[in-house]
Symmetry: C2
Subunit: 704 residues, 2 copies
């Protein structure tokens, strides 16, 4: 009999990759052998979490309550702690010296003659990270035998950036409103805040910027700082530090000063006072994130000062307390020159001029989180300034919450790009984790988290949060391995599920989005403002205001933005190795072609097709890719609970329709420029171009 209703115990996505679902008998018995008792020493809030996690994970996965033991007296004990919390750990000669503050060692050892698993770190948080790693192994049915794991993160700062506004909306948020319930804070500490901290700690994230980079000065008011402190207290056991985005002109709005000039003593004093106040409330406060002189935000340039003047003034206020400044390199103002060159132009001359507790936060590409961009030239150019990566987890340009687009491949592509620094390959990941500069290292991801029951407004969006955490721990991680972990933990570890969902859905998914929104290095062809849907006809190729046509430069003569030395010259912002790679259009990977070159429609590409034919081919490849993902998913029903299965299916329906819309509108527009016939076997757009132009949408999410 078909049952229409659904039970409360159904999967609603809230548990993310931490479901710790019951194991089948084989792995259950195997796990039980390695979880006969738990030996712990002195406790702390963080060690309490670690112990609690093991106890509950084992209970959920095996149905058994793991007993506490004082000593190891049978095979299968788990020993958890630091050398301070549990002195017996010091006797095991573990390679703890190599794992630093946040790392851990998981090792199969013999204690008192019994087979034992030890999870150890130099700090409580290291122990907690190790604990999550061990639980992950259990949940993935990996072997628990002969473990010899030594792990440490490559980056110090592993941070989520929330673009959450003080009124609860989220800029570029597609999963509901902000999970910070400012109204009831600081009194009400919701369990959701704990769940949030736990999810982040489980993947190595150690910081969160609570509010939008387009910041409200009120965030620094005493009233709001008390609310922030309550969140910080909740997050602390999970090793999550709190940071705030600050509005550069806060001394005026909040302090009543007549200027925010960073060289004005009263301004500096105001910030010092404010920093001291913050640290009284939050002793381990992380620091500030600043968007200045970009998209209308105030900044030091308002007073003819440099970014360094501004950043260093804030850094001086935070320094006595151990805080840092993350200063964004994303600067954007109207200008006649190639818009993607602005950050380099403004920041290169400041290399080496920032205080030691400042780090520049640089977006992965020079434009703005497009489905594909070349890496940002500042990663190759600035050698004497700490640089951190800014990725966007929320899918502003990759189909919002409703398209499946696994971003692990995008990030891997960027992280593995050769910056051109030095004599041999030196990737963006190297620049982040083994920097030429001294000091802080880090990575940030713009969060995709909201009040949606599953946090991210669609289960596959959880994969991007997960992948961000895993890459933040190890920028050289492998996107496919991460996808496999996530799929196994989130749905089902059965390889008949994991193989197809990873290799036929997740791994190619981002490339399909590139194909149906901007193939061949085309970029920023979406509608303005809300960034939803295609708008390749918008703007004017010659205008100084960035728009679709400004970026495509499509006309009857050809397509693409000439950034070579014949054009805007921004290619010269790259180091020679990268410059040569991008500059030689005959050798260039066609994925970047139209980013750097303006080419005639008839140009033959390496594969044998003309640019025009290849463009149409790729748009169609994107659409058929979505159709194929949907088909693959439909075959996976036996492995997935009904609720999540049907939700994903319905998302694919949306994605398929919108991919077709993108393809049809784009082909219609570019054909109006190329005046060329469609290649054989490729259908004309369903409607004429005027029809696509006439589409109006309203109430688009994430538009503030």
């Amino acid at each position: 009999m078909a049952l229409a209703a659904n039970v409360a115990t159904a999967e609603n996505g809230h548990d993310l990759w931490l479901r710790n679902a019951p194991l089948d008998s084989g792995p259950r018995n195997a796990t039980a052998m390695f979880a006969t008792g738990l030996v712990i020493g002195s406790t702390s809030p963080t060690l309490d979490v670690a112990v609690h996690e093991v106890v509950h994970a084992i209970a959920n996965m095996t149905g058994k309550q793991i007993p506490y033991r004082n000593i190891v007296k049978m095979d299968g004990a788990i020993v958890i702690g630091t050398t301070r919390s549990l002195p017996m750990i010091a006797k095991l000669n573990l390679p703890l010296a190599s794992v630093g503050k946040d790392g851990y060692v998981i090792r199969s050892v013999r204690i008192n003659g019994y087979n034992t698993t030890v999870i150890a770190g130099n700090t409580d948080i290291g122990v907690l990270y190790g604990t999550y790693a061990w639980i992950r192994r259990v949940a993935m049915r990996s072997s628990l035998n002969s473990l010899k794991i030594v792990e440490a993160p490559s980056l110090q700062l592993r941070i989520l950036n929330h673009w959450d506004n003080i009124d609860g909306t989220i800029e570029r948020g597609y999963a509901g409103n902000s999970i910070w319930d400012w109204w009831t804070l600081p009194d009400v500490k919701r369990q959701k805040y704990v769940d949030y901290a736990r999810a982040n700690a489980s993947i190595g994230i150690n910081g969160t910027v609570l509010n939008n980079v387009n910041a409200d000065a009120a965030m620094l008011s005493t009233e709001y700082l008390n609310k922030v402190a309550a969140l910080a207290n909740t997050f602390r056991p999970y090793g999550i530090k709190v940071y705030l985005s600050v509005r550069f002109s806060s001394p005026m709005e909040l302090g009543g000063l007549s200027t925010a000039d960073p060289l004005d003593l009263a301004v500096a004093k105001w910030w010092q006072f404010k920093a001291a106040q913050i640290y009284r409330k939050i002793p381990d406060f992380g620091g500030f994130l600043v968007k200045a002189n970009s998209e209308g935000q105030p900044g030091p340039q308002d007073y003819h000062r440099t970014h360094a003047d501004g950043a260093n003034m804030l850094a001086a206020a935070l320094k006595p307390h151990g805080g840092i400044v993350m200063w964004r390199a994303f600067v954007y103002a109207r200008r006649s020159k190639d818009r993607v060159g602005q950050a380099y132009d403004e920041f290169l001359s400041l290399d080496g001029k920032f205080s030691s507790n400042v780090i520049l936060q640089v977006k992965n590409g020079p434009l703005d989180f497009q489905p594909r961009e070349p890496f940002h030239p500042l990663f190759g150019a600035m050698q004497n300034t700490p640089l951190m990566m800014e990725f966007q987890i929320t899918k502003e340009y990759l189909g919002f919450s409703t398209h499946v687009a696994y971003l692990g491949t995008l990030w891997q592509e960027v992280l593995r790009s050769d910056t051109g620094l030095g004599n041999k390959t030196y990737t963006v990941a190297d620049r982040l984790s083994r920097p030429t500069s001294k000091g802080i290292t880090g990575i940030a991801g713009v969060a995709n988290i909201g009040t949606a029951q599953d946090w991210t407004g669609g289960v596959f969006n959880q994969a991007n949060w997960y992948a961000f955490g895993r890459f933040s721990w190890c920028p050289n991680a492998n996107a496919r391995n991460i996808a496999r972990e996530w799929a196994a933990l989130t749905f089902n570890a059965d390889t008949r599920f994991v193989d197809p969902v990873v290799d036929r859905i997740m791994m190619p998914s981002r490339e399909f989005v590139v194909d149906y929104t901007g193939p061949l290095g085309l970029t920023h062809q979406m509608n303005t403002g809300h960034h939803y849907g295609p708008g390749p006809w918008i703007g004017d190729p010659a205008a100084s205001i960035a728009s679709s046509r400004y970026y495509s430069k499509a006309d009857s003569g050809g397509i693409g933005f000439d950034r070579t030395s014949n054009g805007s010259k921004t290619i010269e912002q790259y180091r020679p190795r990268a410059r040569h790679m991008y500059g030689d259009k005959s050798a260039l990977d066609s994925r970047y072609l139209l980013w750097f070159h303006h080419v005639p429609w008839s140009l033959k590409l390496a594969g044998g097709r003309t640019v025009w034919d290849e463009l149409v081919f790729r748009y169609d490849r994107g659409v058929s890719g979505v159709t194929r993902m949907k088909q693959v998913w439909s075959g996976l029903q036996p492995f997935v609970d009904a609720d999540r299965f049907h939700e994903v299916t319905s998302y694919f329906t949306v994605q398929k329709r919108e991919a077709q819309w993108w393809r049809d509108a784009s082909v219609a527009f570019f054909q109006s420029q190329s005046h060329l016939p469609l290649p054989a076997g490729h259908a004309p757009p369903t409607h004429d171009i005027e029809w696509y132009k006439s589409i109006k949408v309203s109430h688009v999410p994430g538009t503030e």
Copy 2:
């Protein structure tokens, strides 16, 4: 060892009163005796739900899977269905004739010589209501023996009104944003929509108005109607009909007409066309809710037509399809006369002039959902027009989501008020359920539901949703019994928990809010606009614009609004019995004193205190009541899971602080008018009045 973290299986409130938590062994064994097998006949989507609910409830509560049987062949079978779905039910001579379309019979019978429980209705939805009733008995550990239950609802329409805006915000919503994810509808049918329908069906609610009465014309666009249809499809098996609030001027905004005059033929035709379109998509669409000529909304008076002209034109468009019009009697425009008299003035002359498929929706009191108002005089005045009640479940004036205020007592007070109609007591509940008018009966509640994980932004707010449903089924229900049901189902059926939580927290809670916000019949003393916090100093007693001072009329001579024949005369809108009760200030219940009378501060009340002393006494009684509720709650920790226990505790912290704020600010202001000393034993306000006046709040939720 103290454990800091919390498990995913903890109670997060999402399951509401439908937790069906595992029973202790005693009731578990008792239940098992009455659930040995399930006999069902032919199925339907609604009957599928009923069967599914029994199976899962029994599984959750007893751990046993109840088997399906074709025939009754042992004691303890449950037989579920209608006489059509299961012919054996027809042979049982159940009193189904008396329960109508929505009612049910639950009876212990002998079938084939075996003890059997039958759950039967005339319709599938009746069966489902009976099923929820039986499951509720199990969860409450009530006896399952010798059942002889015959139930039918007293009202036809039992409807939630969502004040959800098309952009996702909720007017007067304090539990996050709208649960309708318009962006992903109609493609994505979230499980939450099913959970919503299920929760409502379980308490007898059978309709939902999806959007705010301050309506956006776009809601009637084809695009949105497709989204509405998807929700209607999801709700249908649960017996929940969908209704829409409509903007009266939609023919102009959406149809391009130059007028919305209800007597214009093109306008009428537009609505007929629109209704036909709706019913093609949603064959069982419920109808329209209309707010017209109130607070700036367009309406028939814009064209010098009456409310009846407007309502009847819409009703004519819906009539061929079986739809109805709910026309709101809440009209508010600036006027020099007593604002609370407006609805009576505008509607009384229209009595009997509305079409048969129109029902007037009247708020419980003549002002606006205050913590206490006398009942609305229209319930006594209009005898020839169907009237439905409008309650407000969301706590716009009762502390938002963070104060505990059980509204069952408020609604019971209104429903049991004697309208004065006829020769003997004829209550508001009678007027609703045994009306003098012919035709439709109903009740509406303004929902308190949002994206909060627990739906209502605090577990005690769930009680008001629950109570609304139970009162909608039976307006003569008992608020205390409903509270006992809710507390047992939501937390714990142990009487050591239920007795104190009901009698010492829920039942007195609303009176405490009255005490600390507006005792003795004072009303509307809150801050303007957002309605948060005290603002008794706002406005001018003589002004025509409604404000705190307009309502209190407090000055050195006394306090209270004279609505007697010496004053605004609105007391004359009541029938003689009610008019006499309210009019005689020496005999009047002091709860209504200042609503109807302006009295000197020195007037002695029945209890012996002067008005001034009693006012201060009651403000303090409200504050100490909150302190007491908090104390009682703290003793209930053993009976409540940690997450919900701590959340409620933190809510009481908020409520205590805000009750004190209300009391202090109010006493400070009224003392500035009375110039009288505080009675002995009552502390002066912590700050002077200017301090309270200077408080500014921002980002107040629910303010659109």
